[in-house]
Symmetry: C2
Subunit: 253 residues, 2 copies
DNA sequence: TATTTACATTGATCCTGATCAATGGAGCGA
DNA sequence: TCGCTCCATTGATCAGGATCAATGTAAATA
């Protein structure tokens, strides 16, 4: 599992002293809540986000029905949020990485409506929501940034809805790989080569297809020279053709 | 097209003097932004929402790419929000009725990311977003209610994602009908009998199925005695069995 | 009212992707 | 290092729903 290409360009590693690093010095401040805050405002945000929490692979951040207290900003690592259908089937509502905020679904009902679990060892910032709202009332830039983050989640979900409702499995998987690529890239990792943190089944639960279809489609992409797959390691060899897959004219439904 | 059962229990009609009715006297204040506000706060909200806008059937509220200025609260009527795929296929991200707020997707990028169009003659409240944010900074209850509404949209979208990713067409349509029923019911209309405001094709664009499948499935439901359909008029005859359709054990994917 | 257009229904056929099933590898714990 | 368990691949078959096509019906316009 060589991670040579997985090294981030910006330093994103945990500071030597454990998890004491503050928002003000966090390399994710360009992605996360702090965008647009000045030094003084950042400092106030820092003091609010007291707890940095380490999560082990497989550990849950929250579960359906848990009383809502915190939003969680991902510092490092990789998470999935999922719900269980009535028949026990898992449906994954999102994969989440550094700089993203999870738990916003709970605001509406004061209880989490999905489960969140770490897919690798990860670090979180715990954001007490009442305090965040309070601070948002005092710092317009923070307020606006928070609204933007919620709005972004809505847009993201609309994208998934289009994907699930209107694309065939080949296109969905291409979209998925390109989305991962883009997000890794935005965080300073390679856009063309990465390790999948999730299983084929989990990809399927996210994209609305069976794990066999995921596997077969990956194989097909490989045969077409679009990607190289070896287990969880993926290399995107032809981004152009991969993108073309999604813009097909013939696609209907 | 008798609309006897379509008469709302609460009065929801437009006041005689046009569209002057304020939030404080709006019958939707239990669904919309005003929840939890006291008289003085309501008054401030009233003064902010100056424009009440009448929309004719087929008229657009906003289109993709339009600069973001307003959120829109639906006072009466029925809307769809949709996006066009690359191939021109329409994908509907939501059907919206009285008390709901549309346009929140635009917060993130300052431009609308979807189109919104009235499916029948309707009335809107135009909410200038910067002023809303400003008022949210002063009225915690309004702020919290607004956050709840955004969160609710996220939850709703997750529900659709589960539906699209994990249910077969029969279950999707049952879920759709039950959802409409519940929403009409919450607004004082009949839960068991209503007029569909959208075409079969639009239902299909929402549920990720072709219009022929929508039509066939409705017919099948009718043959099974679950519903009675006559064009756009639908009567739900067996809510229990309709619900059972969705909780099936055998459902997989 | 007549004519046009948009919408809905129904049938026949085909194809994508699900399902069932077996085998092969990778990673983890003892 | 062995053995177990989880994960991935691949094949064969089947079915749900898409597609193509024709007809019927309701609403809109002249």
């Amino acid at each position: 599992m060589d991670a040579s290409n997985q090294q981030p360009v910006n330093k994103m590693t945990i500071s030597p002293g454990g998890l004491k690093q503050a928002c003000s010095s966090c390399s994710l401040r360009e992605l996360c809540l702090p965008i647009g805050l000045d030094a003084g405002e950042l400092d106030r945000l820092d003091r609010m986000v007291t707890r940095r929490k380490h999560m082990q692979r497989g550990e849950h951040v929250f579960r359906v029905g848990a009383p809502f207290q915190f939003l969680f900003a991902i510092r490092t690592g990789f998470f999935k949020t999922y719900e269980l259908q009535d028949d026990g089937q898992e449906h994954i509502t999102g994969f989440h990485m550094a700089g993203e905020i999870i738990g916003m679904d709970a605001i509406s009902t004061d209880h989490n409506t999905c489960n969140a679990v770490a897919l690798e060892d990860s670090d979180l910032c715990e954001i007490p929501f009442p305090q965040l709202e309070s601070l948002c009332r005092e710092i317009p830039a923070l307020q606006h940034q928070f609204h933007k983050l919620m709005s972004r989640e809505i847009i993201h979900d609309h994208g998934i809805m289009m994907l699930l409702g209107g694309m065939r499995s080949e296109e969905r998987l291409a979209a998925f790989l390109l989305n991962l690529s883009q997000r890794f890239s935005a965080r300073g990792y390679s856009a063309s080569e990465f390790h999948l943190r999730m299983t084929r089944a989990e990809i399927g639960h996210y994209l609305g297809m069976k794990l066999e279809t995921v596997s077969r489609t990956l194989t097909k992409f490989q045969e077409q020279g679009l990607i190289a797959v070896n287990n969880k390691h993926v290399e995107l060899l032809d981004l152009v053709r991969l993108r073309q897959l999604m813009n097909r004219e013939e696609c209907s439904l």
